[in-house]
């Protein structure tokens, strides 16, 4: 009996969002998609809370033979993701009130939700990939929803990286399946060991989603460009899918990958610091949050790398990374949602609702952040070589830096005016946001893997240890508040949102202009602009095409081709 209830829960977590998404496509049922995000998100939450660990749902009759199930890691991921999707969905119902195109948003939202839940529940590689792709492509619709130039540019960059990521993932999957056959059960670490090419391809493919440094450029553009509730799920839930991909596919915790471990630790540290540095000089609070996400994902990357370097620590580190994902997902989601509340006026209570998750991200004592960070630090002390010493210095510095970034965010939020349109209904938005803030505070104390660490952080000594970086931040925060952000740009330099993409775009633009200029110089007599040249080349091409179809030439081409074939084969025969 229990078994079948589990199956219904597993199935509905994936099928309900899909069902509502498809409903939304039908003209007469558009409203259903918006209302449907609530039950769909609730189905995911129910699965995370109620499904027992052993149950799996096999759907061999589907084309690909889907297999769904839930392990402890997946349960935590599903838990916080479902909370985010559910609450951001409720928030969205108010946020988009009165907007004509809102139904389209909800359709994409439901598709992306189905993808996110599905990939968490996937028990084999192909299922994971399918849902990952569904989520990635559907969230393009979320990024470009506003249809502003900014959103469209962000969407272009996002879709290019998504496609690149999909190609890398699929190629990696093909390489993996080539060795092992189509049925790769997750976690696939052992199967992966056979194929270094698959390892590199999957690292990069998931790295794009997880905002790994140099693959992160879509993040600071897409998150601010998307509507507020979409940013919350993008940053809170969807980028964690990249992390989960690593956990599911890479042979973390196995011997013989020390160099990969070093690479991941260094990449993680680089992202952690770079994200803060680039974020500090931004003015849009959502861009600041996006950079903060890059920085925070860096800590999780570091955790994965540590597990690779010291396989004996992996079981502890896996829990630590999972708890970190839980903490960051909920806190970051809450902060993003506040960006839609702030322009409409904030009470003192509301500012407390901003401050709590911001403090949590900075790792203040008694918050989820302190729990997550202590879990990570605990294992970092046991790493081989000089890593404990290095991390012993760098991690507190990073915590201070994060604190600064959060201070910068609060300052920027005070001056924030846009991001919400006139008809938005705060009666949906404020409660959903408040619920998410509460969840981000409370959940860590009750949720099984987090609660264990949480007890440990309650000791007085630990509280002080977690508090001292914050005291530094308080002092520095005052400074940030007094001299924003010119003071910082002098130290860091100007970083346009999307950093690396900007020079790349500039190069492309330069090339285009140069070509246009050269083309303008070339045909002296004609109007010297590129558009005209293109038109002329085009009409020339069309003319040529037409002339290929003239009957008389057809015979010449036909006989000429026959003669050529004959001559070629005679020559080969003569050899």
């Amino acid at each position: 009996m229990n078994y079948s209830v589990d199956n219904v829960l597993l199935g509905s977590a994936v099928l309900l969002p899909l069902f509502f998404a498809v409903c939304g496509l039908l003209p007469r049922m558009r409203g259903v998609a918006a209302a449907g995000t609530t039950p769909a998100g609730a189905a995911g939450l129910a699965a995370a809370l109620c499904v027992s660990a052993e149950s799996t749902l096999d759907l061999p009759w589907t084309v690909l033979g889907l297999r769904l199930g839930l392990d402890e890691t997946g349960r935590t991921f599903l838990f916080f993701s479902a909370i985010l999707w559910l609450l951001a969905g409720l928030y969205g119902r108010g946020y988009f009130r009165g907007q004509e195109r809102a139904w389209l948003y909800h359709v994409f939202y439901a598709f992306a939700m189905a993808g996110n839940f599905g990939l968490i529940l996937a028990r084999d590689a192909v299922t994971f990939y399918v849902f990952f792709a569904l989520m990635s492509f559907a969230s393009y619709g979320l990024v470009v929803h506003n249809r502003t130039d900014f959103a469209l540019r962000a969407g272009r960059i996002y879709i290019v990286l998504v496609v690149a990521g999909e190609v890398a993932l699929f190629a990696g999957l093909v390489a993996l399946i080539g060795r092992t056959g189509i049925n790769v059960t997750l976690p696939a670490g052992e199967a992966m060991a056979a194929s270094p090419a698959a390892l590199a391809l999957l690292t990069a493919g998931f790295g794009i989603k997880a905002g790994m440094l140099s693959l992160h450029t879509w993040l600071p553009l897409a998150h601010p460009a998307a509507p507020v509730p979409a940013s919350a799920v993008l940053s809170g839930a969807m980028i964690k899918a990249g992390l989960l991909g690593w956990l599911r596919f890479l042979p973390v915790g196995q011997d013989g990958y020390a160099s990969w471990g070093t690479f991941f630790i260094i990449a993680g540290l680089a992202a952690a610091f770079y994200g803060v540095a680039a974020g500090l000089v931004q003015t849009d609070p959502k861009t600041i949050l996006a950079y903060s996400s890059i920085s925070q994902m860096g800590f999780m990357t570091l955790g994965v790398g540590a597990g690779w370097m010291a396989p004996e620590l992996w079981s502890a580190l896996l829990v630590a990374v999972t708890v970190y994902a839980l903490h960051h997902g909920l806190a970051k989601g809450a902060l993003f949602l506040s960006a839609g509340i702030a322009p409409g006026g904030m009470s003192r209570w509301s500012w407390a609702g901003v401050a709590v998750p911001a403090l949590a991200l900075a790792g203040a004592p008694l918050t989820s952040g302190a729990v997550a960070k202590s879990a990570l630090k605990y294992s970092a002390h046991e790493l081989p070589g000089s890593w404990p010493a290095v991390l012993g210095v760098l991690l507190p510095v990073a915590a201070i830096a994060t604190g600064l970034l959060m201070a910068r965010f609060v300052v920027a939020l005070r001056e924030y005016h846009s991001a919400s349109h006139g008809d938005a209904d705060r009666r949906w938005m404020v409660p959903a946001w408040a619920a998410l803030v509460l969840a981000s505070v409370a959940v860590i104390w009750f949720w099984e893997p987090g609660a264990g660490f949480a007890q440990g952080t309650l000791k007085a000594g630990k509280i002080f240890k977690a508090a001292w970086p914050l005291l530094v931040v308080a002092a520095a925060g005052l400074a940030v508040y007094r001299w924003p952000p010119e003071f910082l740009t002098r130290w860091i330099g100007r970083v346009p949102p999307g950093d690396l993409v900007v020079p790349a775009e500039a190069v492309l633009l330069f090339l285009r202009r140069t070509v246009a200029r050269a083309a303008g110089r070339f045909p002296r007599r004609a109007a010297p602009d590129l558009g005209n040249l293109v038109d002329r080349v085009a009409s020339r091409m069309l003319g040529l095409e037409k002339s290929l179809g003239v009957w008389r030439r057809v015979l010449i081409v036909l006989l000429g081709l026959a003669l050529l074939l004959f001559a070629l084969s005679m020559a080969a025969a003569a050899k």
Binding site: L558, A572, A573
Partner: protein
Amino acid sequence: MMASPEAWLVLCPLAAAALAFLWRSRGAFIGIVSALINGALVAWLIALMRTEGVRRIEIGGWSAPLGIEFYADGLSPWMLMLAAILGVATAVYARGYFKDPGSWFWPIWLMLAAAINALFLTRDIFNAYVCLELLGLSSVALIALSGNPDALAAALRYFFVSMLGSLFYLLGVSLLYSAHATVDIDRLRSLVSETPATLAAAAFMTVGLLLKTALFPLHFWLPPAHANAPAPVSALLSGLVVKASLYLLLRLWFEVFPGAIFASVAPLFGLLGAAAVVWGGIQALLQERVKLVVAYSTVVQVGYFFLLFPLAAHPLTAELARQGVIYLLLAHAIAKSAAFMAAGNFIRVVGSDRLEDMKGAGTALPVSMFSLGLAGISLMGLPPSAGFIGKWKLFSASLTAGQWWWTVVLAAGGLLSAAYFFRILSPALAEPSRLGAKIPRTMKWTPMALALAGVLLGFLAPQLLEIFEIGAPLRPAAAMEGGP
């Protein structure tokens, strides 16, 4: 004979065609039932072949050369499967598209189905000629179906092209028969040598079939013919009919003509294929009508198929290239017919076929929009679609063979197709407009199902390719394997 699906595969659509002709008011019903039976027969044949391997059946107990033999190795059920999938999809779509259930579409289409099934089963180059003619004539009639002057002109042009191609092919057949006194592929394979008569026959048959396959620079007739036909007919012509002559060409070059000349002719095919990819892509970008864009994309895809020749000439990459092109055939058939059907829906709702009139069509028809996007994914060759599997295999084949320049062609083709699909999709995604026309549900969901299948088939590659490898088809003659 009763127990052989091969005979039924030809008889069944033929009988259905006669029935639909006599009982025109029930044409749609007869067509759909026949398409379903056809699907079941193909499944039966595949099941039989999985246990028995290659099958050879003598019709009426007469053996070749006087009697007719049916032969099926892995390539035959592959092509039959393709025809069966498109058959069911087209029948369902056409039932909504042609409001009159007694449309001439049904008997003519069933005739076409019989001809194409027979072509994929025959092992006799003269029979293949008869099937090709029957196929050509029914296609001509289908193109002319709408009866407007543009369609009639396109049909006439197609008719003359088809005649010219068939005559060249028949000339080659008669030369081969004069030289070797047989038309059976296996017997010819053991008899042919590099005599001038054989080589001349090869040249004539090849250009005749190239003309029918619409390989650049002989593609001029394809875009108007495919663009002026009714949507379900365009779907069939682009998805299936073009591949019939290609099928014959592959059979001839891999299984009949002397292996010694293969390697020297192969680069020419590769070059023409590459030119088709680039030229077709550019032309597709320049078109102003939706169906012309989709039709030029067929010119591009035909180009990809011909990359098989240079890559198969290399012993290390022959298998990879063969599988890649075979998968591309499947991917293109499914995605292209989905694209034509979705485009047909847009045109029905908008009332015009011009790109500039497509504004907002996507909001009126989100399902069709989505199907067109999915079909585009497969045609561009993005993962996980079937098109990606095909291109990926060709890509690795070119790298393994050391012929990296084909990878440039593949990449350029992918980029160009992304660009021209964007040209259709971007106006359709624009702000909504009030478009009233309603279209039947079957017309909405058939292209969607096809396009989804095209994307998901990428995952079934290993299992499906097992079917194709039965009896090891398209293995070049022994001389070539050791050749240059």
